[in-house]
C-alpha cells in the first residue's frame, strides 16, 4: 500500500498550529474534531480561547430547550477543558440562570482568565458574582447589562488594560474607585450610564469612550489620553443642571489632555463643553490634536460656535476637521455676524489643516461665515467638502455660488458639494 497518498496531513503539525486552527473555528466545530481520530480526541481541550455565541446553538423549536442546550454545552466544555483559559466570550440573547453563570465565572477565575466578555440576555441584568473581582490576570473585561458590586476587600484589577461597561449598574462612588484601582488601564468605555458625575483618574489611559447622560465629567489625571469619543445625551434634568452649574466644563474635561490626538463628539457634546466657557482664554494648547469630529453642533448657538473655534484655534497641528450641524432651526434669532470681523482674532492661521468636511449644511449665516473663515485662514487646505442637508433643496444653488466666491488662502483648495447619502 502506498502510504504517502494516505498519509495523515494534519495531525502531526505542531500543537501551536493546531490550536491556532481550532481557535479560528466556531467552538462547536472545534469540539467536534474530537471524533475525528485517536490523535484528535483531546486536541481541542487545550485551546485557550472559548467563544460561545449563536454559532453554538443547535436549532430547535422550543426556546427553553435551546437555552438548556447552550448551558449544558458551556458547562461540559468548561468541565472537559484542560489547561489555562485566556479568553472567554459569551454572547447570546439567551440568559443563563444565575447559578450556572456564577459557577462558570468561579471556574474561570481559577484558570488564569485574561479576557472576559459577557453579553447575555436582552432585557435582564445579571448580577456579577464576587469571584469576578478576584481574577488577577484579567487584562480585558467587557460586561453588558450587569450589576456590579465590588466587595469591600477588592483591591482592583491590577493587570486590566481594557474595560468596557455597557448598561452596567454600579453604585456611583464605586465606579470611580474601580477605574482608579486599575493602574494599567489604557482603554475605558462607559455606555449608557444614568446621570453620572464622574471623575476619571487613570494615569495610563489612552482611549476614552463615553456614551450616555452625564452631568459632569472631569478628567483629572489622564496625561496620556490620545483618543476621546463622547456621545452625550440630554434629559430635562441634566439641562437644568447645566444651567445651574458653575465652572468651565471645557476646562474640566479637556484641561489636562496634552497628548490628545483625536477628539470625537456627538449629540450634545459641544453644548456640554460650552457651559461656563469664557471667550478669549486659551490656556491649553493641543499640540498633537490632528482629528476633530464634532456632530450635531448648533450653529445658532454662539456659545457652541465659540467652543468649536476655541478647539481649532488651540490645535495648531490640526489636519482634519469634520463638523455636522444639528438641524434645529429657531429662525427668529438675529445673527451677530459682526462677531467674525470684530471679536474674533483675524490673525490665526490653521497651518496644517488639509481636509474639512461640513455635513448637514443648511446655509445658516454662521455656517457660511465659518466656512469663509476656514477658507480664508487655511494656507494648506486641500479639500473643503460640503454636504447639504436634505431639507434645504431650494437654496443649494445660491449657497454653492456664495461658497465658491470666498477667498481661499490655499491655492490647492477645492470646494466640493456632495449629495448626502439618503
Amino acid at each position: 500500500m502506498d502510504t504517502d497518498s494516505g498519509r495523515d496531513l494534519i495531525s502531526d503539525l505542531p500543537q501551536s498550529i493546531i490550536e491556532t486552527i481550532l481557535i479560528k473555528l466556531p467552538l462547536l466545530d472545534a469540539v467536534r474534531t474530537s471524533v475525528l481520530s485517536r490523535k484528535w480526541r483531546y486536541k481541542w481541550a487545550t485551546i485557550t480561547e472559548l467563544v460561545f455565541n449563536d454559532t453554538c446553538l443547535i436549532p430547535c423549536q422550543d426556546k427553553a430547550i435551546i437555552s438548556c442546550n447552550l448551558v449544558n454545552f458551556i458547562t461540559r466544555c468548561l468541565f472537559l477543558h484542560d489547561g489555562p483559559i485566556h479568553k472567554f466570550e459569551l454572547n447570546t440573547s439567551y440568559s443563563p440562570t444565575s447559578p450556572d453563570l456564577d459557577q462558570w465565572l468561579l471556574f474561570l477565575s481559577r484558570k488564569d482568565i485574561k479576557e472576559l466578555i459577557i453579553d447575555i440576555g436582552e432585557d435582564d441584568w445579571f448580577r456579577a458574582p464576587s469571584c469576578l473581582f478576584f481574577c488577577p490576570k484579567l487584562t480585558h473585561l467587557v460586561l453588558v447589562r450587569c450589576e456590579l458590586n465590588p466587595p469591600p476587600n477588592f483591591k482592583g484589577f491590577l493587570s486590566l488594560k481594557h474595560l468596557s461597561l455597557q448598561q452596567v449598574i454600579i453604585p456611583p462612588h464605586d465606579i470611580e474607585g474601580l477605574i482608579s484601582s486599575c493602574p494599567l488601564l489604557e482603554s475605558l468605555t462607559l455606555s449608557y450610564f444614568d446621570s453620572l458625575e464622574l471623575t476619571i483618574r487613570a494615569p495610563n489611559l489612552k482611549y476614552l469612550n463615553l456614551e450616555g447622560e452625564f452631568k459632569d465629567i472631569r478628567l483629572e489625571n489622564t496625561p496620556h489620553l490620545i483618543g476621546i469619543s463622547v456621545a452625550m445625551y440630554m434629559t430635562d434634568d441634566i439641562a437644568e443642571h447645566f444651567e445651574q452649574s458653575s465652572g468651565c466644563n471645557f476646562d474640566k474635561f479637556l484641561g489636562c489632555v496634552p497628548r490628545l490626538e483625536r477628539l470625537i463628539g456627538h449629540i450634545y457634546f459641544t453644548k456640554y463643553l460650552s457651559i461656563g466657557n469664557e471667550q478669549g482664554s486659551f490656556p491649553v494648547m493641543y499640540q498633537n490634536l490632528k482629528f476633530i469630529e464634532l456632530y450635531q453642533v448648533s450653529f445658532e448657538d454662539m456659545k457652541e460656535l465659540l467652543v468649536v473655534l476655541r478647539l481649532i484655534v488651540s490645535s495648531p497641528n490640526l489636519e482634519e476637521l469634520q463638523i455636522s450641524s444639528s438641524s434645529i432651526t429657531t429662525t427668529t434669532d438675529i445673527y451677530d455676524l459682526d462677531f467674525w470681523e470684530k471679536d474674533w482674532p483675524a490673525d490665526c492661521t490653521f497651518g496644517k489643516l488639509k481636509i474639512v468636511q461640513m455635513s448637514d449644511f443648511s446655509g445658516l449665516p454662521h455656517e457660511i461665515a465659518f466656512i469663509k473663515f476656514l477658507l480664508g485662514h487655511s494656507p494648506v487646505l486641500e479639500q473643503m467638502i460640503v454636504a447639504p442637508t436634505i431639507y434645504v433643496t431650494d437654496k443649494v444653488v445660491k449657497m454653492l455660488i456664495d461658497l465658491l466666491t470666498f477667498r481661499r488662502a490655499s491655492p490647492l483648495a477645492t470646494v466640493k458639494f456632495v449629495q448626502e447619502p439618503l
Binding site: R7, D8, L9, I10, P14, I21, D29, V35, S37, F79
Partner: protein, 354 residues
C-alpha cells in the same frame, strides 16, 4: 509629485543569501527577501551563515524546496515597503488558494521558520476547510485514520488524564500491563525463534563480518532495534485483529517498514529475540525507550506488590471511573479499570496517550 531623481537599482549590487533545504538543494535568494524571515535573519546575524554556497543557512527539516519557494514568494511580496494594506490583503487571499496538503506543509514550514503571518493565513485557510464539514468529510480531506472504536465515538468525552493521581495510577497499570505483555512476548518469541533461527545465524555472521567497525554497527543495531520496537508497537496499535500470533507480529512489523530485503533489520530482530530469550531479568532496561519511563525490574514479588498498590490506590481514590483511565495503546490486552468498589475489571476503552 516629488521632483527628486529616480533611484536606480543596479542588479550587481544586490547581495544574496544561500539557503539549504532539508532535501539537500541549495539556492541563493536576494538578501532582503530572505531576511524577512525571522529564523533566517537570526542565523545570518548570529552565526554568519549564508554568505556562500558552502556556508549556506541550513533550514529546518520541515522546509523542502517546493514549500521554500512558496515562502519566498510571500516574503518577496511583503518585504516591499510601499504596498498598501489593500494590496497586501488581495495578495494574501490569492496566496492561500492552495490544496489542503500544500496548506499543511506550508503551515508546518512557516512555523519552523517563525513566519507568523503565513502561519496565521494557513491556519485560517485550514479552519475554513474544516468548518462545516462532517467528520467523514474531514477525515477524507486530511487522510485521518478512523481509529476510534464505535464505543469511543459514542462515549461522552472524558476529562483529560492530566491529574497527577491519574497519571500515577496509569503508570502502575502500565507496569502491570507491560509485564503481562512481556510474558506473552516471551512465549511468542520462543516460537518465532525456533522457526527462524537457521537463517538468522548465517545472516548474523554475515553482518558481523561485513560490519568491520563493531561499535558503530552496534550502535546502529541498537538504534534499529529501537526503531523496530517502536514499529512493532505501532503495528500492534494499528492492527485491529487481536491474535497474538508471532506471524502476525512479524508480518505487521514487515509491513510497517522493514522490508524483506533489509538484512540488517532482520538481524537486529533476531538479536532482539535472542536477547529477549536469554535475559528476561534485564528486560526492563532494554525496554526503556518505550513511552513509559519505567525503570523498575519486574519479578513476581514486585508484580504482586504492584497489584496490591493498584488496588489500594483505587480504593483510596474511591470514585466511579469506569472507563476513564487511559491505557493500552494496544486494545488487545484490554485496559484494566475499576468500578467503585475497587475490584478490577477489563474494558476496551482506549484513549490517546500522546
Amino acid at each position: 509629485m516629488s521632483g527628486g531623481p529616480m533611484a536606480i537599482v543596479k542588479p550587481e549590487m544586490k547581495s544574496y543569501i544561500w539557503l539549504q533545504t532539508a532535501d539537500g538543494s541549495i539556492q541563493q535568494v536576494e538578501q532582503e527577501v530572505a531576511m524577512y524571515c525571522p529564523v533566517i535573519c537570526r542565523e545570518v546575524a548570529q552565526n554568519s551563515t549564508g554568505s556562500s554556497k558552502n556556508n549556506a543557512v541550513v533550514l529546518p527539516e520541515r522546509v523542502n524546496a517546493a514549500v521554500l519557494g512558496l515562502i519566498l514568494d510571500f516574503c518577496r511580496f511583503h518585504q516591499v515597503a510601499g504596498r498598501s494594506n489593500k494590496e497586501r490583503k488581495i495578495f494574501d487571499e490569492k496566496y492561500i488558494r492552495l490544496d489542503t496538503q500544500k496548506l499543511c506543509e506550508l503551515a508546518s514550514a512557516a512555523d519552523s521558520l517563525q513566519l507568523k503571518p503565513v502561519v496565521d493565513l494557513t491556519s485560517r485557510a485550514l479552519a475554513r476547510v474544516i468548518e462545516g464539514k462532517t467528520p467523514e468529510e474531514i477525515r477524507e480531506t486530511f487522510h485521518l485514520p478512523d481509529d476510534l472504536t464505535e464505543e469511543e465515538k459514542l462515549e461522552p468525552l472524558r476529562n483529560m488524564t492530566d491529574d497527577p493521581r491519574i497519571r500515577l495510577l496509569n503508570r502502575l497499570y502500565a507496569k502491570k500491563r507491560k509485564e503481562l505483555n512481556e510474558r506473552k512476548k516471551l512465549k511468542n518469541v520462543e516460537v518465532e525463534e525456533q522457526q527462524v533461527v537457521d537463517e538468522r545465524s548465517v545472516d548474523d555472521l554475515l553482518s558481523f563480518i561485513n560490519g568491520g567497525d563493531g561499535d558503530s554497527k552496534g550502535v546502529r543495531e541498537t538504534k534499529n532495534k529501537k526503531k523496530t520496537r517502536g514499529r512493532k508497537e505501532q503495528a500492534r496499535n494499528n492492527s485491529s485483529n487481536n491474535e497474538a500470533g508471532n506471524c502476525n507480529k512479524e508480518s505487521s512489523c514487515l509491513a510497517s517498514g522493514c522490508l524483506n530485503s533489509d538484512i540488517s533489520d532482520m538481524s537486529s530482530l533476531s538479536r532482539n529475540s535472542k536477547l529477549q530469550n536469554s535475559a528476561s531479568a534485564t528486560f526492563p532496561s532494554k525496554l526503556d525507550f518505550d513511552d513509559f519511563d519505567m525503570d523498575d525490574e519486574l519479578d513476581p514479588v514486585m508484580q504482586e506488590k504492584i497489584d496490591r498498590e493498584v488496588e489500594d490506590f483505587a480504593r483510596r481514590l474511591n470514585c466511579d471511573w469506569p472507563e476513564i483511565l487511559s491505557l493500552a495503546p494496544e486494545r488487545r490486552l484490554g485496559p484494566i479499570s475499576m468500578n467503585g468498589n475497587g475490584s478490577l475489571k477489563r474494558c476496551t476503552a482506549g484513549v490517546d496517550r500522546g
